[in-house]
């Protein structure tokens, strides 16, 4: 952690506001409602991010508080990772047993390319689609695209778009769809637990938190698998993108745009 932490602890206004948000949201508690066959879970953390964002646009939060909040997210995630560490430890025998599934499901992250790239091209996006669809666009992948194509390239704009969406809505979105899909589809909650580890602490927490709320009996297994998978995604995700994800996206993009150009040429003629 290289950033300057000096005197952030003195920003009592920020910490008092967060304490108030926590007390309020935890008092409201978890609520759920059914949408068709699935369950949508509304957790205190989802209200917390929305209230926090709403307060930013009121005089209660000033630029200073918003800046000071960033290192606290990093340290908060550190505590979360420590908690996940002590959940993984006792489950280490089961995790080793499930090792093959854990390792191979990392390739599932390539599902992003197969679903998102055709949609992006179909919507008329050009080389932005490559930055957008090559991965789930967390920090390492943003770094990779910036390194390869530059900040002001179409690919760079694409990856930043997904990164910002993920930062703002990722946790809310993952929290809602994981609870919904796990109750609606026949897939096992532990499969979704492994899928929750996509390389972002807050998204993993939201997705696995919803799973725990929906299947409280499996709490420890769900958190252990999600945490292990997230660590694996964090450590292998970049290499997966460098060696498989990005080349595959480039190839598919060329294939798809070639076909599209041919049809448009025919239409033109």
């Amino acid at each position: 952690m290289k950033q300057q932490l000096t005197n952030i602890w003195k920003d009592w206004r920020l910490h008092a506001i967060v304490l108030a948000i926590v007390l309020l949201t935890e008092t409201i508690g978890t609520h759920s409602f059914n949408v068709g066959p699935g369950v949508v879970l509304l957790l205190p953390m989802l209200y917390a991010i929305i209230i926090g964002l709403a307060l930013f646009f009121t005089p209660v939060i000033k630029e200073k508080q918003s800046k000071n909040a960033e290192p606290l997210i990093v340290l908060g995630v550190t505590v979360l990772i420590a908690k996940i560490g002590v959940i993984i430890g006792p489950s280490l025998p089961q995790i080793i047993e499930a090792g093959p599934a854990l390792l191979l499901q990392e390739f599932g992250n390539l599902g992003t390319i197969l679903i998102a790239l055709p949609v992006a091209v179909w919507l008329g996006l050009k080389r932005e689609s490559i930055g957008m669809a090559h991965s789930v666009a967390r920090e390492p992948n943003v770094g990779l695209i910036m390194d390869k194509y530059g900040f002001n390239s179409p690919e760079g704009r694409g990856v930043m778009a997904i990164y910002i969406f993920g930062t703002v809505f990722g946790a809310v979105f993952m929290g809602v769809i994981s609870g919904f899909l796990a109750t609606w589809t026949p897939l096992h909650p532990l499969s979704f637990a492994m899928a929750s580890g996509i390389g972002s602490g807050s998204m993993m927490a939201a997705a696995s938190g919803s799973l725990v709320a929906a299947f409280p009996g499996m709490e420890n297994d769900i958190l252990a698998f999600a945490g292990a998978s997230n660590l694996l995604s964090l450590s292998t995700g970049l290499y997966m993108s460098i060696f498989i994800g990005l080349p595959l996206t480039e190839r598919l993009y060329q294939l798809m745009t070639k076909k599209k150009n041919n049809t448009s040429v025919r239409k033109g003629a």
């Binding site: 967060v18 964002l53 930013f56 606290l72 997210i73 908060g76 560490g85 002590v86 430890g89």
Partner: protein, 150 residues
Amino acid sequence: MLKNIQEWVLLLGIFGVVALAGNWIGYEILPTSAIPGMLILIGICLVGLILGDVLPGSLPSIAYVALVGVLLSMPWMPGSEYIVSATSEVELLALTTPILAYAGIAIGRSWTDFVKLGWRSIVVAVCVMLGTFLGSALIAEAILTFQGII
């Protein structure tokens, strides 16, 4: 370095107090029974953060934090039972609520960038997240079924 450690202790302490309050209100665990677990978690964080600073190599501190947590709590480690039972008094969801409260306040600043993106980016972003989530879940399901674990 010393100054850094001092700041880490103070900020982790503030975060811990907020999380313990949520742990009490939301999950009805009295702070008195959750304090030892929280102190252990903060201790693990500090060891990991210091290791990340001191050790050579480019591994992020978070990798060390996780590693320390796993090592202390694995069944072969003496005293791991106490670590596991003490930290189980701190609910995972009580940690995520304050993180996301801070996150909400922080992302307010990138909100205008986000609004500029337009609806097409949102559609693609939804597909990106659904794609990785469903892709991983399907592969995990197939292999866990094949191994007979589920």
